[in-house]
């Protein structure tokens, strides 16, 4: 497997402290990496390091086989970036903003014009192509920035909050685009976002940064499976047990059933438990019906990126965006396939 990004112990400090702390990760070509974390976690700095805008203080870094800072110009010919702030020149039109980048990327004449026009049409900005960007809404600016990042069909695309400010349809279009360029063209995408549901839909890999440290990295499904083995099952009851003794016996009855993972949580109107595989669900339902309980609905769920993210935040003691660092270093991160102590304990 070819890797688009290989980072080993990547570290960057500014005057006020360490911003990226010994981050190690490998990202295969053609995959989507969701770079997650609170504001100030080090996501934007990581993107700047990966694209050779900042020089690492320590560690080894390779993107598309190039050393980003030393071979930055060559690398940036092959990467595209849509920064958190759209970074458009407001005094130029949408078309001129794209055309300028095309010229800077060596795309000239008719090819540049055609590509710019096609992308503006694709992002629904055809009617605004000759308007100066200073009057654009946040969503329109974001779309111009995305179009600009795609002008040269980059091999690696860095997207910093690409759907922030977009309406639901716009967000959906961006997510479809990410899926399309990775699936059909084998492009690699690094996606920084606070929208976990979107990240969960598209990401092949997730990396959670906290205080500059990588605290969790891997495939969301595998990370979730390690934390929550089995399939989650929720059973809503229509005729709750009125007999206290019977109700108290339900968890023990379920735990005794082969394939049920400890320990079921029961309430007066619902039961939540994990099972080894889907075939066990029928046994569970049969047992409950035999016990005289009326079942309204059975739903199964597989935890994903969002669940892992919040579980990691809980482990770190972070309850909201204002919480501070915990001192967990990147070296203690949960890396796919290798359980670090903290992750193993959580699982």
């Amino acid at each position: 497997m070819t890797h688009a990004i290989i980072a080993h112990e990547l570290t960057k400090s500014f005057g006020h402290g360490v911003v990226v702390d010994a981050v190690s990760m490998t990202v295969p070509q053609g995959s989507v990496l969701a770079l997650l974390g609170h504001n100030g976690a080090g996501k934007t700095t990581t993107i700047r390091l990966l694209n050779g805008v900042l020089r690492p203080d320590a560690g080894h870094l390779s993107v598309l086989g190039l050393r980003p800072y030393e071979e930055g110009t060559a690398l940036r010919r092959r990467t595209g970036v849509a920064t958190e702030n759209a970074g458009l020149d407001d005094r130029l039109t949408a078309f001129e903003n794209l055309l300028t980048v095309a010229r800077l990327r060596g795309i000239r004449g008719g090819a540049a014009r055609r590509t710019a026009e096609d992308l503006l049409e694709r992002f629904g900005l055809g009617p605004q192509r000759d308007l100066q960007c200073q009057g654009f809404s946040t969503g329109q600016r974001r779309r111009v920035a995305l179009a600009r990042a795609l002008m040269h069909d980059p091999e690696v695309l860095f997207l910093d909050e690409p759907t922030s400010g977009l309406d639901p349809a716009g967000s959906r279009a961006v997510m479809e685009l990410i899926g399309e360029i990775t699936r059909n063209k084998g492009r690699t995408v690094v996606l920084c976002t606070h929208f976990l549901a979107e990240a969960g839909e598209t990401a092949d890999l997730m990396a959670v940064l906290h205080g500059g440290s990588l605290v969790c990295f891997g495939e969301p499904r595998r990370l979730a499976a390690r934390r929550w083995p089995g399939i989650g099952v929720r059973i809503d009851l229509v005729t709750p047990s009125t007999n206290r003794r019977e109700a108290a016996a339900i968890p023990d009855m379920l735990s005794a059933l082969p394939g049920v993972l400890p320990v079921p949580e029961t309430g007066p109107t619902s039961i939540e438990l994990s099972v080894r595989d889907r075939s066990v669900v029928a046994d569970v339902v049969r047992l409950l019906v035999d016990a005289g309980l009326g079942i309204g609905e059975v739903t199964t769920s597989t935890p994903g990126l969002e669940d892992v993210y919040f579980a990691v935040q809980r482990d770190l003691g972070v309850s909201d965006g204002l919480s501070g660092a915990t001192g967990l270093s990147s070296r203690g991160a949960a890396v796919d396939g290798r359980s670090a102590p903290r992750e193993a304990a959580a699982a």
Binding site: L54, L88, D89, R91, L104
Partner: protein, 270 residues
Amino acid sequence: MRIDWSIVGALLRRDLAAARRSKGVVIPMLVVPVVLLVLLPTGIGWYARTATAPPDLSAVLGRLPGSLARSIATMPPAAQIVQLVLGYLVAPLFLIVPMMISSALAADAFAGEKERRTLETLLHLPIDERDLFVEKVLFAWLPTVGASWICFALFSVSANVVAWPVLGHPFMPTWRWVGLITLVAPSVAALGLGVMVRVSARARSTQEANQLGGAVIMPLILATVGQSSALLILPSYWMPITAVVITGLGLILVRGGLRRFDRDTVAARM
């Protein structure tokens, strides 16, 4: 490493197109030179021509080199004042204005990109630091030189309109003035931007750049004012010598700035 002129050209096109549409850039670039280089000299010349009692210039002429003083002293009083004001005394303005414009544009070069939040976009593009720096220097220098030359052409026309009835013939441009505008003014512009573009790369806003750079630029402007008229009086070989020296100083400053201009440092200050 060689400069990629296609990159520099593309950036120049962008910056010039954007500047052309920015009232904050265009108005000062038009108004200041037109007022200082066209209206003010013409007004002074007009006043001198129409004054009912021309002032006695003998004290002023006494301070000028002998040959120059003698050639002016032979003229009628009205012609003396027109020749002295339009031919010599307004010369400093033609050096102050290029320094002012180039400094203002250079202050905006990087700090303005930071303010408009476009610098990060540029740093993420395949643009070598050298190409970006050279473009910012040229963006400050070319419009300045263009504005000084256009204003000199306008000044020459208006000065002749004012002076012709008094002198009886057109007297602008003289070879010394052409030397001043084509050699010295561009070099002075290079000196101003050599200071300011370095300041701009470190400042967080154009205002900060102007404040930081002002401490250096103001003494340079005062020094220019004090010395520039002398170039029209001194032997003509001083003109290219002065231009070479000032350009050299400007290039040293630009080169030093280029050597210190580093993507990592600039990005860390964003």
